[in-house]
Amino acid sequence: MTKSKERKARPYINPYVGGVLLGLVLLAANFVSGRGLGASGAIKSTVVTAMNTVAPEASANSGFVKEFGEAHSGSPMKTWLVFEMLGVLVGGFLSGSLAGRLRFKVEHSPKITSRRRLIFALAGGVLFGFGSQLGRGCTSGSALSGMAVLSLGGFVTMMAIFGTAYALAYFFRKNWI
Protein backbone atom coordinates (compact mmCIF):
# COMPACT_ATOMS: atom_id res chain seq x y z
CA MET A 1 0.00 0.00 0.00
CA THR A 2 2.82 2.41 -0.62
CA LYS A 3 1.53 5.57 -2.19
CA SER A 4 4.64 5.66 -4.34
CA LYS A 5 6.32 8.23 -2.15
CA GLU A 6 9.08 9.92 -3.99
CA ARG A 7 12.10 7.80 -3.45
CA LYS A 8 15.49 8.74 -4.70
CA ALA A 9 17.15 5.52 -3.67
CA ARG A 10 20.09 4.60 -5.82
CA PRO A 11 19.72 1.43 -7.84
CA TYR A 12 21.22 -1.79 -6.54
CA ILE A 13 24.52 -2.94 -7.98
CA ASN A 14 24.72 -5.53 -10.74
CA PRO A 15 24.03 -8.92 -9.10
CA TYR A 16 27.03 -10.60 -10.71
CA VAL A 17 29.32 -7.83 -9.44
CA GLY A 18 27.67 -8.18 -6.03
CA GLY A 19 28.30 -11.91 -6.16
CA VAL A 20 31.99 -11.50 -6.95
CA LEU A 21 32.34 -8.98 -4.10
CA LEU A 22 30.51 -11.30 -1.69
CA GLY A 23 32.77 -14.14 -2.82
CA LEU A 24 35.84 -12.01 -2.08
CA VAL A 25 34.49 -11.24 1.41
CA LEU A 26 33.98 -14.98 1.95
CA LEU A 27 37.49 -15.66 0.65
CA ALA A 28 38.86 -13.06 3.07
CA ALA A 29 37.02 -14.74 5.95
CA ASN A 30 38.59 -18.08 5.08
CA PHE A 31 42.04 -16.54 4.61
CA VAL A 32 41.90 -14.74 7.96
CA SER A 33 40.09 -17.19 10.21
CA GLY A 34 40.15 -20.51 8.37
CA ARG A 35 36.34 -20.52 8.38
CA GLY A 36 33.66 -18.98 6.24
CA LEU A 37 30.93 -16.48 7.01
CA GLY A 38 27.94 -17.14 9.22
CA ALA A 39 24.92 -15.58 10.83
CA SER A 40 22.94 -18.03 12.95
CA GLY A 41 26.05 -18.81 15.04
CA ALA A 42 25.92 -15.32 16.50
CA ILE A 43 22.28 -15.85 17.50
CA LYS A 44 23.23 -19.15 19.13
CA SER A 45 25.96 -17.35 21.12
CA THR A 46 23.43 -14.81 22.34
CA VAL A 47 20.87 -17.45 23.28
CA VAL A 48 23.51 -19.46 25.18
CA THR A 49 24.58 -16.30 27.01
CA ALA A 50 20.99 -15.48 27.89
CA MET A 51 20.40 -19.03 29.17
CA ASN A 52 23.58 -18.88 31.27
CA THR A 53 22.53 -15.55 32.75
CA VAL A 54 18.84 -16.15 33.38
CA ALA A 55 18.90 -19.79 34.44
CA PRO A 56 22.52 -20.80 35.18
CA GLU A 57 21.63 -24.13 36.78
CA ALA A 58 19.26 -25.31 34.08
CA SER A 59 21.70 -24.03 31.50
CA ALA A 60 24.62 -26.01 32.96
CA ASN A 61 22.59 -29.20 32.48
CA SER A 62 21.44 -28.33 28.97
CA GLY A 63 22.90 -30.56 26.26
CA PHE A 64 22.62 -27.61 23.88
CA VAL A 65 24.80 -25.36 26.06
CA LYS A 66 27.25 -28.20 26.72
CA GLU A 67 27.60 -28.90 23.03
CA PHE A 68 28.30 -25.21 22.42
CA GLY A 69 30.87 -25.16 25.25
CA GLU A 70 32.75 -28.08 23.72
CA ALA A 71 33.21 -26.16 20.48
CA HIS A 72 33.98 -22.74 21.98
CA SER A 73 36.27 -21.79 24.81
CA GLY A 74 35.81 -18.56 26.72
CA SER A 75 32.82 -16.25 26.69
CA PRO A 76 30.14 -17.22 24.16
CA MET A 77 29.88 -13.56 23.12
CA LYS A 78 33.59 -13.31 22.31
CA THR A 79 33.36 -15.35 19.14
CA TRP A 80 34.18 -14.61 15.54
CA LEU A 81 30.59 -14.72 14.32
CA VAL A 82 29.33 -12.30 17.00
CA PHE A 83 31.87 -9.68 15.90
CA GLU A 84 31.16 -10.43 12.25
CA MET A 85 27.40 -9.96 12.70
CA LEU A 86 27.94 -6.65 14.51
CA GLY A 87 29.88 -5.67 11.42
CA VAL A 88 26.96 -6.75 9.21
CA LEU A 89 24.67 -4.30 11.02
CA VAL A 90 27.20 -1.50 10.49
CA GLY A 91 27.89 -2.44 6.87
CA GLY A 92 24.20 -2.72 5.98
CA PHE A 93 23.50 0.62 7.64
CA LEU A 94 26.39 2.29 5.80
CA SER A 95 25.25 0.93 2.45
CA GLY A 96 21.65 1.91 3.14
CA SER A 97 22.60 5.45 4.12
CA LEU A 98 24.82 5.94 1.08
CA ALA A 99 22.07 4.65 -1.20
CA GLY A 100 19.27 6.61 0.51
CA ARG A 101 17.38 3.51 1.61
CA LEU A 102 17.15 4.16 5.37
CA ARG A 103 13.45 4.07 6.22
CA PHE A 104 11.24 2.36 8.77
CA LYS A 105 8.99 0.12 6.76
CA VAL A 106 7.09 -3.16 6.79
CA GLU A 107 7.67 -4.51 3.33
CA HIS A 108 4.92 -6.67 1.87
CA SER A 109 2.87 -7.41 -1.22
CA PRO A 110 0.02 -4.90 -1.73
CA LYS A 111 -2.35 -7.87 -1.52
CA ILE A 112 -1.71 -8.48 2.18
CA THR A 113 -1.74 -6.40 5.35
CA SER A 114 1.30 -5.42 7.39
CA ARG A 115 -0.09 -7.49 10.23
CA ARG A 116 -0.17 -10.63 8.10
CA ARG A 117 3.34 -9.92 6.86
CA LEU A 118 4.66 -9.61 10.42
CA ILE A 119 2.94 -12.81 11.59
CA PHE A 120 4.54 -14.71 8.72
CA ALA A 121 7.90 -13.04 9.38
CA LEU A 122 7.77 -14.23 12.99
CA ALA A 123 6.74 -17.78 12.04
CA GLY A 124 9.39 -17.92 9.32
CA GLY A 125 12.01 -16.66 11.75
CA VAL A 126 11.13 -19.34 14.32
CA LEU A 127 11.39 -22.07 11.67
CA PHE A 128 14.62 -20.68 10.25
CA GLY A 129 16.15 -20.34 13.71
CA PHE A 130 15.23 -23.90 14.63
CA GLY A 131 16.33 -25.30 11.26
CA SER A 132 19.66 -23.48 11.40
CA GLN A 133 20.50 -25.27 14.63
CA LEU A 134 19.46 -28.67 13.35
CA GLY A 135 21.30 -28.07 10.08
CA ARG A 136 24.43 -26.70 11.83
CA GLY A 137 24.30 -23.34 10.11
CA CYS A 138 22.08 -21.26 7.88
CA THR A 139 22.26 -20.04 4.30
CA SER A 140 25.53 -18.24 5.09
CA GLY A 141 27.37 -20.65 7.35
CA SER A 142 26.19 -23.96 6.01
CA ALA A 143 25.08 -23.45 2.41
CA LEU A 144 27.27 -20.61 1.05
CA SER A 145 30.42 -21.14 3.14
CA GLY A 146 30.03 -24.91 2.92
CA MET A 147 29.82 -24.78 -0.87
CA ALA A 148 32.96 -22.65 -1.13
CA VAL A 149 34.98 -25.34 0.67
CA LEU A 150 33.14 -28.06 -1.30
CA SER A 151 31.54 -29.54 1.84
CA LEU A 152 29.09 -32.31 0.95
CA GLY A 153 26.84 -31.23 3.82
CA GLY A 154 26.90 -27.65 2.52
CA PHE A 155 25.60 -28.73 -0.88
CA VAL A 156 22.96 -31.01 0.67
CA THR A 157 21.68 -28.24 2.96
CA MET A 158 21.68 -25.71 0.10
CA MET A 159 19.57 -28.03 -2.06
CA ALA A 160 17.20 -28.80 0.84
CA ILE A 161 16.68 -25.09 1.61
CA PHE A 162 16.06 -23.97 -1.96
CA GLY A 163 14.20 -27.15 -2.96
CA THR A 164 11.75 -26.78 -0.07
CA ALA A 165 11.23 -23.08 -0.65
CA TYR A 166 10.45 -23.75 -4.34
CA ALA A 167 8.14 -26.64 -3.42
CA LEU A 168 6.18 -24.47 -0.98
CA ALA A 169 6.26 -21.25 -3.04
CA TYR A 170 2.85 -21.89 -4.58
CA PHE A 171 1.12 -21.98 -1.20
CA PHE A 172 2.57 -18.67 -0.04
CA ARG A 173 2.36 -16.82 -3.37
CA LYS A 174 -0.19 -14.29 -2.09
CA ASN A 175 2.38 -13.01 0.39
CA TRP A 176 4.81 -12.07 -2.34
CA ILE A 177 3.18 -11.59 -5.76
Partner: protein
Protein backbone atom coordinates in the same frame (compact mmCIF):
# COMPACT_ATOMS: atom_id res chain seq x y z
CA UNK B 1 50.68 -18.32 5.19
CA UNK B 2 46.91 -18.51 5.51
CA UNK B 3 44.67 -19.06 7.33
CA UNK B 4 46.20 -16.27 9.38
CA UNK B 5 44.64 -16.97 12.77
CA UNK B 6 45.05 -20.76 12.58
CA UNK B 7 48.75 -20.29 11.79
CA UNK B 8 48.93 -17.77 14.66
CA UNK B 9 50.24 -15.06 12.34
CA UNK B 10 47.67 -12.73 13.91
CA UNK B 11 46.52 -12.67 17.53
CA UNK B 12 43.07 -13.76 18.66
CA UNK B 13 42.02 -10.16 19.24
CA UNK B 14 43.21 -9.11 15.79
CA UNK B 15 41.21 -12.01 14.42
CA UNK B 16 38.06 -10.72 16.15
CA UNK B 17 38.74 -7.20 14.95
CA UNK B 18 39.07 -8.48 11.39
CA UNK B 19 35.81 -10.40 11.90
CA UNK B 20 34.13 -7.06 12.53
CA UNK B 21 35.72 -5.53 9.40
CA UNK B 22 34.80 -8.55 7.27
CA UNK B 23 31.28 -8.33 8.71
CA UNK B 24 31.05 -4.71 7.53
CA UNK B 25 32.00 -5.88 4.05
CA UNK B 26 29.46 -8.70 4.26
CA UNK B 27 26.61 -6.40 5.33
CA UNK B 28 27.59 -3.72 2.82
CA UNK B 29 27.64 -6.10 -0.15
CA UNK B 30 24.37 -7.78 0.89
CA UNK B 31 22.62 -4.43 1.15
CA UNK B 32 24.10 -3.10 -2.10
CA UNK B 33 22.87 -6.22 -3.86
CA UNK B 34 19.32 -5.73 -2.57
CA UNK B 35 19.33 -8.47 0.07
CA UNK B 36 17.77 -6.07 2.57
CA UNK B 37 14.45 -6.45 0.74
CA UNK B 38 12.32 -9.50 1.48
CA UNK B 39 10.26 -9.13 -1.68
CA UNK B 40 13.44 -9.04 -3.75
CA UNK B 41 14.73 -12.15 -1.97
CA UNK B 42 11.46 -14.05 -2.34
CA UNK B 43 11.42 -13.15 -6.04
CA UNK B 44 13.76 -16.01 -6.85
CA UNK B 45 11.01 -18.48 -5.94
CA UNK B 46 8.55 -16.90 -8.38
CA UNK B 47 10.95 -15.89 -11.12
CA UNK B 48 10.25 -12.16 -10.98
CA UNK B 49 13.59 -11.32 -9.36
CA UNK B 50 16.44 -13.81 -9.36
CA UNK B 51 19.05 -11.68 -7.62
CA UNK B 52 19.44 -14.32 -4.88
CA UNK B 53 20.44 -17.03 -7.31
CA UNK B 54 22.86 -14.81 -9.22
CA UNK B 55 24.60 -13.35 -6.18
CA UNK B 56 24.63 -16.60 -4.21
CA UNK B 57 26.14 -18.78 -6.91
CA UNK B 58 28.55 -16.13 -8.19
CA UNK B 59 29.80 -15.71 -4.62
CA UNK B 60 30.15 -19.45 -4.00
CA UNK B 61 32.11 -19.89 -7.24
CA UNK B 62 34.31 -16.84 -6.64
CA UNK B 63 35.26 -18.01 -3.14
CA UNK B 64 35.70 -21.61 -4.27
CA UNK B 65 38.02 -20.61 -7.14
CA UNK B 66 39.81 -18.14 -4.87
CA UNK B 67 40.56 -20.87 -2.35
CA UNK B 68 41.74 -23.27 -5.07
CA UNK B 69 44.05 -20.62 -6.57
CA UNK B 70 45.31 -19.48 -3.16
CA UNK B 71 46.14 -23.09 -2.42
CA UNK B 72 47.88 -23.47 -5.78
CA UNK B 73 50.02 -20.38 -5.10
CA UNK B 74 50.82 -21.67 -1.62
CA UNK B 75 49.03 -18.76 0.05
CA UNK B 76 46.66 -20.91 2.08
CA UNK B 77 46.80 -24.42 3.50
CA UNK B 78 43.43 -25.93 2.63
CA UNK B 79 43.99 -28.67 5.22
CA UNK B 80 43.65 -25.97 7.88
CA UNK B 81 40.45 -24.55 6.41
CA UNK B 82 37.28 -25.73 8.13
CA UNK B 83 35.15 -28.03 6.03
CA UNK B 84 31.63 -28.23 7.42
CA UNK B 85 30.97 -31.74 8.73
CA UNK B 86 28.19 -33.75 7.15
CA UNK B 87 25.44 -35.17 9.34
CA UNK B 88 23.20 -36.29 6.52
CA UNK B 89 19.87 -36.53 8.38
CA UNK B 90 20.07 -33.15 10.06
CA UNK B 91 21.54 -31.49 6.96
CA UNK B 92 18.43 -32.49 5.00
CA UNK B 93 15.84 -31.98 7.77
CA UNK B 94 17.38 -28.70 8.90
CA UNK B 95 17.46 -27.53 5.28
CA UNK B 96 13.79 -28.41 4.78
CA UNK B 97 12.74 -26.49 7.90
CA UNK B 98 14.92 -23.53 6.85
CA UNK B 99 13.39 -23.61 3.35
CA UNK B 100 9.89 -23.38 4.87
CA UNK B 101 11.08 -20.51 7.05
CA UNK B 102 12.58 -18.77 4.02
CA UNK B 103 9.40 -18.76 1.91
CA UNK B 104 7.23 -17.75 4.89
CA UNK B 105 9.54 -15.16 6.40
CA UNK B 106 11.21 -13.85 3.26
CA UNK B 107 14.62 -13.62 4.90
CA UNK B 108 17.45 -15.82 6.04
CA UNK B 109 19.41 -14.93 9.19
CA UNK B 110 22.17 -12.89 7.52
CA UNK B 111 19.82 -10.95 5.25
CA UNK B 112 17.40 -10.23 8.11
CA UNK B 113 20.16 -8.42 10.03
CA UNK B 114 20.94 -6.55 6.84
CA UNK B 115 17.25 -5.60 6.38
CA UNK B 116 16.89 -4.56 10.01
CA UNK B 117 19.96 -2.34 9.71
CA UNK B 118 18.15 -0.10 7.20
CA UNK B 119 14.85 -0.04 9.11
CA UNK B 120 12.85 -3.02 7.78
CA UNK B 121 10.47 -3.87 10.61
CA UNK B 122 9.54 -7.22 9.09
CA UNK B 123 13.23 -8.12 9.28
CA UNK B 124 13.30 -7.13 12.95
CA UNK B 125 10.34 -9.37 13.72
CA UNK B 126 12.00 -12.18 11.75
CA UNK B 127 15.08 -11.79 13.96
CA UNK B 128 12.85 -12.07 17.03
CA UNK B 129 11.59 -15.33 15.55
CA UNK B 130 15.15 -16.53 14.99
CA UNK B 131 16.02 -16.09 18.66
CA UNK B 132 12.84 -17.90 19.63
CA UNK B 133 13.55 -20.76 17.23
CA UNK B 134 17.13 -21.20 18.46
CA UNK B 135 15.87 -21.08 22.05
CA UNK B 136 13.24 -23.76 21.34
CA UNK B 137 15.95 -25.94 19.80
CA UNK B 138 18.07 -25.47 22.91
CA UNK B 139 15.18 -26.19 25.31
CA UNK B 140 14.17 -29.44 23.67
CA UNK B 141 17.70 -30.46 22.70
CA UNK B 142 17.35 -33.90 24.31
CA UNK B 143 14.31 -34.61 22.15
CA UNK B 144 16.14 -34.17 18.86
CA UNK B 145 19.71 -34.93 19.83
CA UNK B 146 19.44 -38.36 18.17
CA UNK B 147 18.29 -36.81 14.89
CA UNK B 148 20.92 -34.07 15.20
CA UNK B 149 23.73 -36.61 15.47
CA UNK B 150 22.41 -39.25 13.05
CA UNK B 151 24.23 -40.38 9.90
CA UNK B 152 27.55 -38.67 10.58
CA UNK B 153 29.77 -38.99 7.51
CA UNK B 154 32.80 -37.01 8.69
CA UNK B 155 33.76 -33.93 6.66
CA UNK B 156 33.74 -35.24 3.10
CA UNK B 157 34.12 -32.96 0.11
CA UNK B 158 31.43 -33.25 -2.51
CA UNK B 159 34.16 -33.76 -5.13
CA UNK B 160 35.47 -36.80 -3.20
CA UNK B 161 31.97 -38.21 -2.85
CA UNK B 162 31.50 -37.93 -6.62
CA UNK B 163 34.95 -39.39 -7.26
CA UNK B 164 36.44 -36.42 -9.11
CA UNK B 165 39.16 -33.88 -8.47
CA UNK B 166 38.34 -30.51 -6.88
CA UNK B 167 39.24 -28.75 -10.12
CA UNK B 168 36.94 -30.85 -12.32
CA UNK B 169 34.08 -30.42 -9.85
CA UNK B 170 34.67 -26.66 -9.75
CA UNK B 171 34.58 -26.55 -13.55
CA UNK B 172 31.29 -28.51 -13.66
CA UNK B 173 29.76 -26.26 -11.00
CA UNK B 174 30.63 -23.20 -13.08
CA UNK B 175 28.94 -24.73 -16.14
CA UNK B 176 25.85 -25.53 -14.05
CA UNK B 177 25.81 -22.00 -12.60
CA UNK B 178 26.06 -20.46 -16.09
CA UNK B 179 23.08 -22.57 -17.20
CA UNK B 180 21.11 -21.40 -14.14
CA UNK B 181 22.02 -17.75 -14.84
CA UNK B 182 20.68 -18.17 -18.35
CA UNK B 183 17.38 -19.55 -17.01
CA UNK B 184 17.29 -16.75 -14.42
CA UNK B 185 17.68 -14.04 -17.07
CA UNK B 186 14.92 -15.68 -19.10
CA UNK B 187 12.59 -15.88 -16.06
CA UNK B 188 13.04 -12.20 -15.23
CA UNK B 189 11.97 -11.26 -18.75
CA UNK B 190 8.97 -13.58 -18.60
CA UNK B 191 7.53 -12.70 -15.19
CA UNK B 192 6.44 -9.14 -14.45
CA UNK B 193 8.26 -7.31 -11.71
CA UNK B 194 7.53 -4.18 -9.79
CA UNK B 195 9.76 -1.96 -7.75
CA UNK B 196 9.49 -2.37 -4.02
Amino acid sequence: MGPLSVNEIISENTNLFLAFIIGIGFGFVLEQSGFSSSRKLAGVFYGYDTVVLKVFFTAAITAMLGLLFFSLFGWIDLNLVYVNPTYLTSAILGGIIMGAGFIMGGYCPGTSFCGASIGKLDALVFIGGLFLGVFIFGLGYNLWEGTYMANFLGSPKVSESLGMSDGIFAFLLIIIALAMFWVAEWAEKKFPREEY
